[in-house]
């Protein structure tokens, strides 16, 4: 995956997290993790996962739900999926 695509994935993830948690994108920092803000709680987390499945057309198995707990880990997952 080239740098431009990586950058695009990160921007799309930041927008997606902002939408799922219903917070302004300015509050979504690049290193944001589950539990860092009140909106990213268990329900917020599952909202992000459902939107990820829908927008990126990926299937998220329960066994990896607990690994996608930050913006960097979500980006890394999507980048890996792109390569498969």
């Amino acid at each position: 995956m080239n740098l431009i695509n990586k950058r695009n994935v990160k921007i799309r993830v930041l927008e997606l997290v902002s939408e799922a948690l219903q917070i302004p994108i300015s509050q979504v920092s690049e290193g944001l993790s589950l539990g860092d803000i009140p909106q990213w709680d268990s329900m917020g987390h599952m909202g992000i996962m459902l939107l990820l499945e829908e927008r990126f057309n990926v299937e998220i198995d329960t066994s990896i739900l607990n690994t996608l707990t930050s913006i960097p880990s979500i980006c890394a997952f999507l980048e890996k999926m792109e390569q498969i």
């Binding site: 329900m43 198995d61 066994s63």
Partner: protein
């Protein structure tokens, strides 16, 4: 005219959700007496209180399809993890213990989900309790006593109304008004459905019956730093969860007793304590001689919250149940659980650690009636067949 009503589900219910969907059917409409989802997940069979007309059929079908869609669409398949499996441990009894419990006066039904217990059940519960107290002692857990009533405003702080509205038990009293109290005293009467009295005689609901023991501890620690940064506590109490058509004998009571060992502190402290409790209980269950397994589980969240909350609990391995074998129906019954709440209570109730971060919590709970019931379902009533440790403790 038949009272049966069959609905073809618009969405196939996957096998891992059949039990959860079925357990919610009783909450769909007051006309439903019983509901069953076919193993294939395509058909729902309902038994109704009366023969349904087209209006009722259409109303129920709309609600059933709505509930199924909410629980199934976008659901995540749970990851079942078995931590202990002693299900093949031999047990001598295979009969249904219910008729014997009734005949001996060990189980007396006051109403649906409300039972009194006799001397044998009480002594068995005391025995199991003594073992759970030893577990609590091994952690230096401090004893607490909590009320049965839980103020509504406190339960509201932990989003309980959103997650488990279906199982709430409300408490109220007559309004402080001489005319209303006089009128009630002279006109109140009961029928099969309960107490008849004008609804406006009652005050707004100030409290609910506790659905769990540990909440009281968390509320007592709210809005202040946690002294010493960690706490192990224990308490026993009556708990109340209304389970509609799922209320069945001692397996699922509206009013039941729970012994809890509760941990509050850092993530490492509570997670390690929960795991240590499970390890220590292995030996205790061996002493009880019971066939059981410990496996991951989820709480019975209501429809709107179910899909997300259950998946989150499963993915983060927050709940493990001790499921005892019920030989007479080749099924299992949850008699206890090991729970980790992450920092949910710490954040929502503002319980802080010395570094200012929210406290994490965990609890280990044992259902006392279910423990005694499952034991008798596995070993029967002849004490000669009981494991030596239990027989000796009860003086048989």
């Amino acid at each position: 005219m038949t009272k049966k009503f069959q609905i073809k589900s618009a969405i196939i219910i996957p096998p891992y959700l059949v039990g959860d969907v079925q357990s919610k059917l009783g909450y769909i409409d007051e006309a439903i007496l019983q509901g069953k989802v076919a193993p294939a997940g395509d058909v729902i069979d309902l038994t109704l209180t009366s023969s349904p007309d087209d209006n009722l059929k259409s109303r129920i079908e709309e609600k059933v399809q709505r509930m199924v869609a909410s629980m199934v669409e976008g659901s995540f398949k749970p990851k079942i993890q078995v931590l202990e499996d002693c299900m093949t441990r031999p047990v001598p009894y295979t009969k249904d213990p219910n008729p014997e419990l009734m005949a001996r006066g060990e189980m007396s039904k006051e109403d649906v989900g409300i039972y009194s217990l006799g001397p044998l059940m009480s002594r068995l519960i005391d025995y199991f309790e003594s073992k759970f107290l030893l577990l609590a002692d091994s952690f230096g857990a401090r004893p607490y006593r909590f009320p049965t009533l839980l103020p509504a405003k406190l339960l509201g702080r932990i989003n309980y109304f959103r997650a488990f509205p279906h199982s709430l038990s409300f408490v109220t009293h007559l309004r402080e008004d001489l005319d209303i109290i006089d009128n009630f005293a002279h006109t109140a009467s009961c029928d099969d459905h309960g107490l008849n009295a004008p609804l406006d005689s009652f005050a707004p609901i100030p409290a609910l019956l506790s659905p769990a023991v540990c909440y009281h501890l968390y509320f007592s620690l709210a809005d202040k730093p946690l002294p010493d940064g960690k706490l192990a506590a224990t308490a026993v109490g009556h708990c109340y969860r209304y389970e509609s058509t799922n209320l069945i004998s001692l397996e699922r009571l509206w009013n039941f007793s729970l012994r809890e060992v509760i941990f509050v502190g850092s993530k490492d402290f509570v997670v390690e304590s929960r795991e240590a409790a499970r390890e220590r209980m292995k030996g205790v269950f061996e002493e009880f001689g019971m066939a059981y397994r410990v496996e991951s589980a989820t709480d019975p969240f209501f429809v709107g919250e179910f899909r997300k909350q259950a998946a989150f609990q499963s993915a983060f391995q927050l709940k493990f149940e001790i499921r005892a074998r019920l030989p007479f129906k080749e099924s299992t019954l949850a008699v206890g659980s090991y729970n980790y709440h992450q920092d949910f209570f710490g954040r929502n109730l503002n319980i802080s650690l010395p570094d200012g971060s929210p406290a994490h919590t965990a609890c280990v709970g044992f259902g006392l009636e279910r423990m005694a019931y499952a034991f008798l379902a596995q070993f029967g009533f002849d004490q000669k067949d009981w494991p030596e440790a239990v027989r000796n403790a009860l003086g048989g």
